[in-house]
């Protein structure tokens, strides 16, 4: 009996340790992550471009680009983005006489990407769009009217895993404007693709104006 009691006591002690249950306590911290959409475009230089034709050479050959005719654009976006680019009106309209018009594609532009994001080639972070202003990084393209659709898409996200979002050092470009230069080969050709000079078009003397919309959308 004595042996039995000793064995039982030992068993009791061992089982007490062996079968202790895990104990735990918990603390819960509510977590929130707020992502606010950031989408901002800013023309930092060249917000107003004026071409003045005052000699026959201008009328015959147009006014080529120089730093004086540049617009610098930066944009910040927290998401991938696309940019539409086009004129407010179907033609340039005379200020003195609104009945006077000048074809939009007398105004042309090339684009120089200056941001840190890679641009303008397949699979880059930002790319120009095939068929619309597609070769504007190399050749002057004629301005088209703004539609907000595929017909005036200048840049879009290139599908690169890094995405096109970023700050103004990542997304920046310069528009090099020119007028009446009859450059051939643009995806949206200048001067109706006919190489027609301002002189040949013979528009009435006037101040022709329009607004150019630069419109970015989050993707």
């Amino acid at each position: 009996m004595k042996k039995t009691l000793i064995a039982a006591c030992l068993g009791m002690a061992i089982s007490g340790a062996a079968f202790a249950q895990p104990v735990s306590d918990r603390a819960v911290i509510p977590l929130g992550v707020t992502l606010q959409q950031i989408l901002r475009v800013h023309v930092t230089n060249g917000g107003n471009i004026e071409f003045v034709f005052n000699d026959i050479n201008d009328y015959k050959n147009g006014i080529a680009n120089s730093a004086f005719y540049d617009s610098d654009v930066v944009l910040a976006s927290s998401t991938n983005w696309e940019m539409h680019f086009g004129a407010e009106d179907a033609t340039l309209l005379g200020t003195d006489d609104p009945a006077n018009t000048l074809a939009l594609n007398n105004v042309g532009f090339t684009i120089a990407w200056t941001g840190n994001n890679t641009c303008c080639a397949a699979a880059s972070q930002v790319t120009t769009v095939t068929g619309i202003y597609d070769n504007s990084t190399a050749t002057a393209n004629g301005l088209v009217q703004y539609t907000g659709g595929a017909a005036d898409l200048l840049f879009t996200d290139g599908g690169n895993v890094a995405g096109s979002g970023g700050d103004i050092t990542d997304n920046a470009f310069t528009i090099h404007w020119e007028c009446g230069t009859q450059v051939a080969g643009g995806t949206t050709p200048m001067n109706n693709g006919a190489g027609s000079s301002i002189l040949a078009q013979s528009p009435p003397a006037d101040r022709y104006v329009t607004n150019v919309f630069i419109d970015i959308n989050a993707l």
């Binding site: 079968f19 911290i29 992550v33 998401t79």
Partner: protein, 193 residues
């Protein structure tokens, strides 16, 4: 018959000892009881947001000296992930971001000489418990075989800071859909035999 009676008493005593608890545990949040990351500048999206020593946790770990039932303790973190989708879910449920965008780091705030925080690395949040600290650095060690808890911890004297960061490269949130993403972070302090 007396033998059977003795056996009965022995079994009775054994069963009561079988479920006895020779220790207790408690976890308290002293500060940083809620956490909200607000991304409203491009800088936030590019470099992320860090809240250093945001949450202060007090640990109480008591293993009865006379009845040392427990050999280890650990502090773990996990995302609650109530919807079990494995992601931090937005107000619009189709919007999700990876738990891994949020990383946590444990540092000893006070006391806690026996706490091992493994060099305080940043570890990604996940729906699976991740150990942030345990008792394997007890100053009284070498511990008794298999026992890491010769030194008890007190909730006011032994505390740990938790640092959080979100969207820090390479886990940038640039490009993610704007929304309010929410979940619960669960800390568990557990003591095991």
């Amino acid at each position: 018959m007396p033998f059977k009676k003795n056996i009965f008493y022995i079994l009775l005593l054994s069963s009561s000892s079988l479920f006895s608890q020779g220790g207790s545990i408690r976890l308290a949040v002293y500060s940083g009881g809620s956490l909200n990351f607000v991304f409203n500048t491009i800088s936030d999206y590019k470099t992320g947001i860090t809240y250093t020593n945001w949450t202060q946790l007090g640990l109480e770990v008591v293993d009865d000296v006379a009845l040392p039932d427990y050999s280890t303790w650990s502090l773990t973190i996990e995302a609650d992930d109530a919807d079990a989708d494995g992601f931090l879910t937005g107000s619009n449920p189709i919007n999700t971001i990876s738990f891994g965008a949020i990383e946590v780091q444990a540092n000893i705030s006070s006391g806690c000489a026996s706490c091992n925080v493994f060099g305080s690395p940043f570890v990604p949040l996940s729906a699976v418990p991740t150990i942030l600290a345990d008792g394997s650095s007890d100053v009284d060690c070498p511990c008794p075989p298999g026992d890491q808890i010769p030194t008890n911890l007190g909730i006011t004297t032994d505390q740990i800071f938790i640092t959080y960061r979100c969207g820090v490269p390479p886990n940038r949130l640039m490009g993610e859909t704007a929304d309010y993403y929410a979940d619960d972070i669960v800390f568990t302090l557990e003591m095991q035999p």
